[in-house]
Amino acid sequence: MKPTASDRINSARLTSWAAALAICALLASGASAETATAPTGAAPLAAAPAGTDDPALQPLKLQRAVPRANGPWTPVDHGKFAALKGPFKSPRDVTSACLTCHTDSANQMKSTIHWTWSKKDPNTGHMIGKANVFNTFCANIKSNEQFCTVCHVGYGDPDPAHFVPFNERAENQVDCLVCHDRSGKYKKIPFLGGNPAVERTRVRPGCNEVYGTEEPYVDPPDLAAVAQSVGAPKRENCGGCHFYGGGGDGVKHGDLDSSLVKATKALDVHMDANGLNFACETCHVASNHLLAGSHYEVDAKPTGGALMRGSAHGGNPASCQSCHGDMPHKKSTLASTINMHTRDIACQTCHIPAMARGGVATKMKWDYSSAGKFGPNGTPLVLNDAKGDNVYWGVKGTFAWGRDVIPQYAWFNGSEDWMTNGEKLHPGADGVVEVNRISGSATDGKSRIWPFKIMRNNQPFDPVNNTLTIFHSFGFDDDAFTISGDWNRSITAGMKDAKLPYSGKFSFVPTRMYWPLAHMVAPAEKALQCAECHADGGRLASVAGVYIPGRGSDHQPWTERLGMLAVVLSAAGVIGHGLLRIMMWLRRRRGEAA
């Protein structure tokens, strides 16, 4: 907000009054000459009220720290640019306007995974990214792109039935606004290929959260107002997709949901709105629109100290260690003992004591096999539990939710074997298909023990071809499962779209997906206490390859048995010996007395 003329006059008046009062107070208190020199800074201001606005007369005040998070971080008021005056006929016109100054931004964006949804995994050589892999939520993007690209940084064809591949799109089809809008009025709409509403659009029943409105319709945004608001991304921008992934608030990650927008200190010590108030990009530092940190590229064991300005570290700024170093505990008298843990225990393991701590539930289980039931009125059946959590939805199946969920723990070296489209199933010993099997062990020298959200599903597969099936979930056509509730039909359409063979037979297989946790970092005093792991049946009860003092399964059983036996027998022996001594002594005494 810009100060108005009357604001300025008022503030000048206030300053003069304050200075005059200060002088009066000094005179009244009979201050010595020495103390009276202290507030002389105020005296010239009082003497020259007309000059209070002159920056040259203001006290020297330098920037003392890194820029405040969550500010626009820019010397530019985009509202003053002629190119952004509008009106804009389409969001692409806004991008064209952006590109008149930010000449390379679209090209930069188009090289990142935010655009391609596809990259080659340097660990496995597989093609990964949303476009290539399965998940245990809606399973697969293929044949559902016009719906899923509501979270893509681009504009496709608003026709719900026509997907334009990303690499066939022009520069002005990059969506600048979804990340840079600071007005909060920009909203992409599902089924429109990543476009905001182009006209008043009816909200599909039950989908208000995805449309971002409580109304039964969505109006097109005022693109000029949105364009003039742009600046550095706010939490709401990143969160618009990353908080709502998987179909709703908190569904996907467990450590990312809308409670982080105005986080409390207890929820996240760095994002505390009344404290450090980090923006997402404080850690996910960007350069040329490429952001640090990704689930596809987890730095499970960053080494070395904190990253210093100018150092040729090549480290990952989106890691705890990049600021805190690898010996971060200093205040506690147990600091050296706790620091011993950093080699093998990820910071997150102790400092994220539970996920979904902000009151928003996260989805823990999804069972597609029960989907397809319709209510008496012919619409998909919806069942909510007492907490208001949706436990059944005809178009998706059965769900289980969790709040304050204790994570699962495993050795993790950052490498995940993603199940890609068409890949043959290789279920584990427990019969569960892991769509992103994590690698790591106590002995590979690259792993630490990490916390995970484990998301389970029971999803359709082709028992003849032995592959997970791609199915057409979302659309307005009759092949879409959400319309027909017909598995065979939607799988046929999905597999055809993916150019993969389908035998015509389907069944359901239990699946599992690992989500390494890195957000909702609790303040130090809320971190795990020793006994959470250093105990029998503690949090790391099933983690192998490490000796954990206090964990019974690590003890040498015969040492414990024989050791205890020696102590107990000694105690029993001396007690017996002592009793006998007392008895004999009493007898002797009686004898003497007699």
């Binding site: 093998d344 006994a531 024989l562 205890m564 102590v567």
Partner: protein
């Protein structure tokens, strides 16, 4: 039966005994808490007290070893079988009948044959075992994975911890017996008083 008073335990010796007793008790309690055998206070307190007490005990041992060698008191622990059978018979039989102890300690020979063996066992087996495994745990617990390359001297943390545990159980057993045997003097409190004042009662 007559008794005589002998000045057995010098000032340092008594200070050493009681401070060592306090530290060993603290280490046993906190150690078994960390180990998960007992409860009643948090692991953090256990580790904190265990580490400070361990350092204090090591410092004390350094002084005690110096004292033993400079005063020649180490000779008190040279093993012998002199009157060993008589002493054993006393504890198994004579003590119940009110007999006098067959061994009469003197400042030059404070310990009877069984004491010598017991304390020698503590000094050359239990203590070094605790000391070495404990120091390794203090400094090398970092290398606690099963990673071959990360095992100091080829010993895994698990092996060290097991050794430390075995020594701890031996110490606990010693402690139980020691406390009881302290009551077997001329009067139940005679030995304990002797360790406080230095003056022992010898029954003739």
């Amino acid at each position: 039966m007559t008794t005589e008073r002998v000045y057995l335990f010098k000032r340092f010796e008594r200070f050493w005994h009681w401070s060592q007793a306090a530290l060993v008790i603290a280490l046993l309690i906190t150690g078994f808490r960390i180990h998960g055998v007992i409860s009643g206070f948090d692991v953090e307190t256990g580790i904190r007290v265990h580490m400070y007490a361990a350092w204090a005990l090591m410092a004390l041992w350094a002084f005690a070893i110096f004292w033993h060698f400079t005063t020649g008191e180490w000779r008190q622990y040279i093993p012998t079988l002199d009157r060993a059978v008589a002493v054993a018979r006393f504890y198994a039989w004579g003590i119940f009948l009110g007999e006098a102890h067959p061994y009469h300690p003197t400042p030059e020979h404070k310990q009877n044959a069984l004491q010598r063996l017991a304390y020698l066992w503590v000094k050359i087996l239990i203590n070094p075992m605790i000391w070495i495994s404990g120091l390794a745990l203090l400094f090398m617990a970092l290398n606690w994975t099963t990673l071959e390359s990360a095992r100091p001297f080829g010993v895994s943390l698990q092996t060290l911890a097991w050794a430390h545990t075995i020594a701890a159980y031996m110490m606990a057993t010693f402690f139980v017996l020691h406390i009881y045997l302290a009551t077997t003097g001329a009067t139940p409190l005679a030995h304990i008083k002797a360790m406080i004042t230095g003056w022992e009662l010898n029954e003739q």
